[in-house]
């Protein structure tokens, strides 16, 4: 506990007030720890805006959400009309609604950029594993939040998107049908589903999200930020113990992020005011038709931010299962012949693989599609332990690593594009290859990340004065 501090009775009123608070709450201490004496590397680049921007979008979503809930009616017979009521009759309701709908897509844009930044600069590596894990949990919560929020306007896409995704759970053996029933609260998506999704969307998931964001930032400030060079700035300190390449977050990065915030708002507001539907990507056209349980739309596509995963789900056909079985058997063969483990474990590997293949053949491909879709997100959690490269940052990795990351990004875009398109035979093949690449990238990372000659990492960060 801190010592109680007395202040001169002649001190300015503001100092007295601050002293009064500091004796009761660690205000100055927290400000120092997280702002004015939090040392961040000075060589942050453009990609480092997106963490602060994610926080900004979270605040935008919460604030606009509060006002939307004041007018929205979570009732299957009134939901669609209440959204139109917000758009037409509530003063500035259209602005609040467009901010929220654009904010949902913007959230994924900034979070994907933020994750990409972490991926290429090795920000998940020791000692930042927990920062990454909290971040992955945030991403997962965000996906749930977006999925449930999308049902609320109660348009055709809301309805059928939810119907398709919830039905996926019924593919899980034994518990599936009951689980889907539990999620829906009914045998089809209906009023009960709308009510529980509303509850989760406005209370449960946002609470979890906020808690995770706090944990994410506390963990980050404990270990300090990584940087584009992947150099630990704490390794070089001056006499007073401050990192030589670090600068106080406030004021340097607060003014820097302010610039990023305005830049972001320029794009964000341009979309809100000039193209809020964003060509049908942010607000799908079909969603302006009220939900009709009797009329299935010809083509049901999730919103763009889910489409890479949706593509992987669709890629798992019964044909694709044979390709996956070959992969499992090949892995087991390599494990049994090449791995330096005891023959007991080799037997376990082979036995496990055979068992897995039997299960893969026994259960419908639809279930494995769900497993693959979920696995595509869950695998991100393991990244800190998959990467064995000697260096953190892409800058000092072998050149061919850079190309591999580039292909990974292109592949992710291709999968996203295919997820928007109606199914086609060529698209199916491409998405199957894309799925194999996506998982290969991560599952083979322990081996490929070790290969190749890394470049020498400097002792200090690269920085040219602005």
């Amino acid at each position: 506990m801190a010592e109680f501090k007395d202040i001169s009775p002649n001190a300015p009123a503001a100092d007295k007030a601050l002293n009064w608070i500091d004796n009761r709450f660690p205000l100055s201490k927290m400000f120092k720890e997280h702002m004015s004496e939090y040392y961040a590397p000075k060589n942050f680049n453009f990609l480092y805006f997106f963490g602060a921007l994610s926080l900004l979008v979270l605040v935008i979503q919460i604030l606009t959400g509060i006002f939307l809930v004041m007018h929205y009616k979570p009732d299957a017979s009134q939901a669609f009309a209440s959204v139109e009521y917000i758009m037409r009759d509530v003063p500035w309701g259209w602005l609040i609604r467009y901010m929220h709908s654009t904010g949902a897509s913007a959230f994924f844009v900034v979070v994907y950029m933020h994750m990409f930044r972490g991926l290429i600069y090795g920000s998940y590596r020791k000692p930042r594993e927990l920062v990454w894990l909290f971040g992955c949990a945030i991403f997962l919560a965000l996906m749930g939040e977006a999925f449930m929020g999308y049902l609320l306007p109660w348009g055709q896409m809301s309805y059928w998107g939810a119907q398709v995704i919830v039905n996926l759970f019924s593919a899980i053996p034994f518990i599936g049908p009951d689980l889907a029933l539990l999620i829906r609260g009914d045998y089809v998506v209906g009023d009960a589903t709308l009510n529980r999704f509303f509850s989760f969307h406005v209370i449960a998931v946002p609470l979890v999200l906020l808690g995770l964001v706090v944990a994410h930032i506390i963990a980050l400030h404990e270990v300090g930020s990584n940087n584009p060079d992947g150099v630990e700035i704490k390794a070089n300190k001056d006499a007073s113990g401050k990192p030589l390449d670090g600068i106080p977050f406030h004021p340097y990065y607060s003014v820097h992020d302010l610039m990023g915030v305005i830049g972001f708002l320029l794009v964000f507001c341009a979309i809100i005011f000039f193209a809020p539907e964003f060509g049908g990507y942010f607000l799908e056209y079909n969603n302006f038709i009220p939900a009709d349980p009797l009329k299935t739309p010809l083509h049901i596509a999730p919103v763009w931010y889910f489409t890479p995963y949706y593509s992987m789900l669709r890629a798992i056909t019964s044909e694709m299962m044979y390709a996956l079985i070959v992969c499992v058997l090949a892995a087991a063969y390599l494990g049994a012949t090449r791995a330096k483990i005891s023959s007991f474990f080799k037997a376990v590997v082979v036995g496990g693989a055979v068992l897995l293949v039997v299960v893969m053949l026994a259960i419908d491909a639809k279930f494995w599609g769900v497993v693959v879709m979920g696995g595509a997100v869950v695998i991100l959690f393991f990244l800190p332990w998959l990467d064995n490269c000697a260096v953190k940052s892409i800058r000092y990795r072998p050149d061919w690593h850079v190309y591999l990351y580039a292909i990974f990004v292109i592949n992710f875009f291709v999968l996203g594009y295919l997820g928007i398109q109606p199914p086609s035979s060529i698209g199916e093949r491409v998405s199957q290859l894309g799925t194999l690449f996506y998982f290969g990238f991560f599952l083979l990372m322990p081996w490929w990340s070790r290969m190749g000659d890394t470049k020498p990492v400097p002792d200090r960060v690269n920085f040219t004065a602005h």
């Binding site: 259209w94 003014v255 302010l258 610039m259 305005i262 000039f274 302006f288 004065a465 602005h466």
Partner: protein, 254 residues
């Protein structure tokens, strides 16, 4: 040479447009609807057409009559000329028709038209483009219960409500050879009986109506764009300030 290039371009465009649409047996490519969202006279004319021709069967149940003041009408004008189903100017545009009867007559309930222009957008164009094409491609088809069919919405349940204005027409097809198949391509129209409007005036009236539908689907859209320009202007100035502020702070970081 020019002729050759032209014929190639024509062949390609007809292959791109006409063929897939007819080969698949569904709708035709959409015409571009004129943009009259800032023309209050056109929007008012569209509102008049909408109330007189559409609102009998279709509702616009999220749209309030007094919102029409946004396109320059006074409440008195609305009361005197446009209120048929209600006497309260703050009421939404509901329809008097019994939904059960509607189902018997048309095979389904006529959809609500408040946001129809937004919902019909697609890869072929905007919802306005679709509606503009749809309302101009009705033709006589005695095989249908209503006696009407439509090129943009084949086998549509709605009869040609604007037929008195357009008159009765029939499409003329031309058979062309493509990829070894004989394909029918729309060549033009045969006017069976004349309408009260000339073809040009009819297109213009439909354009007014479609622009009204487009406006009604998002009544703040013009305000929004006007306001957006100022928001951009403000943010740009703020960006310059933030940029210089950042530079001022960072100048001592070496």
């Amino acid at each position: 040479m020019k002729k050759f290039i032209l014929s190639v371009v024509l062949a390609l465009t007809s292959a791109l447009y006409a063929l897939p649409s007819f080969a698949a047996g569904d709708s035709i490519p959409w015409d571009k609807a004129p943009n009259r969202l800032n023309d209050l006279g056109a929007l008012q004319n569209g509102a008049k057409l909408f109330v007189n021709y559409c609102l009998n069967c279709h509702a616009a149940s999220y749209m309030r009559f007094n919102r029409l003041t946004d396109i320059g009408l006074t409440e008195q004008q609305i009361k005197d000329n446009l209120l048929f189903t209600t006497d309260k100017v703050g009421e939404t545009m509901k329809v008097a028709m019994d939904p059960k009867q509607a189902k018997d007559w048309f095979g389904g309930n006529p959809p609500d038209l408040t946001v129809i222009a937004r919902s019909r957008s697609g890869s072929g164009g905007t919802g306005a483009d679709y509606l503009y094409t749809y309302l101009r491609t009705y033709y006589r088809d005695d095989s249908k219960a209503t006696g009407w069919n439509n090129l943009a919405f084949p086998n549509v349940g709605m009869p040609h409500v604007l037929w008195e204005l357009q008159g009765q027409r029939k499409p003329i097809y031309e058979e062309i050879e493509s990829h070894g198949h004989a394909v029918q391509v729309l060549k033009g129209w045969e006017q069976i009986t004349p309408g009260t409007l000339s073809p040009n005036d009819y297109d213009s009236a439909v354009a007014d109506l479609v622009n009204y539908l487009q406006w009604m689907s998002d009544p703040t859209q013009s305000t929004r764009i006007r306001l957006g320009v100022w928001v951009m202007f403000y943010l740009l100035i703020f960006f310059v300030i933030a940029w210089r502020l950042n530079a001022a702070y960072w100048k001592d970081i070496r």
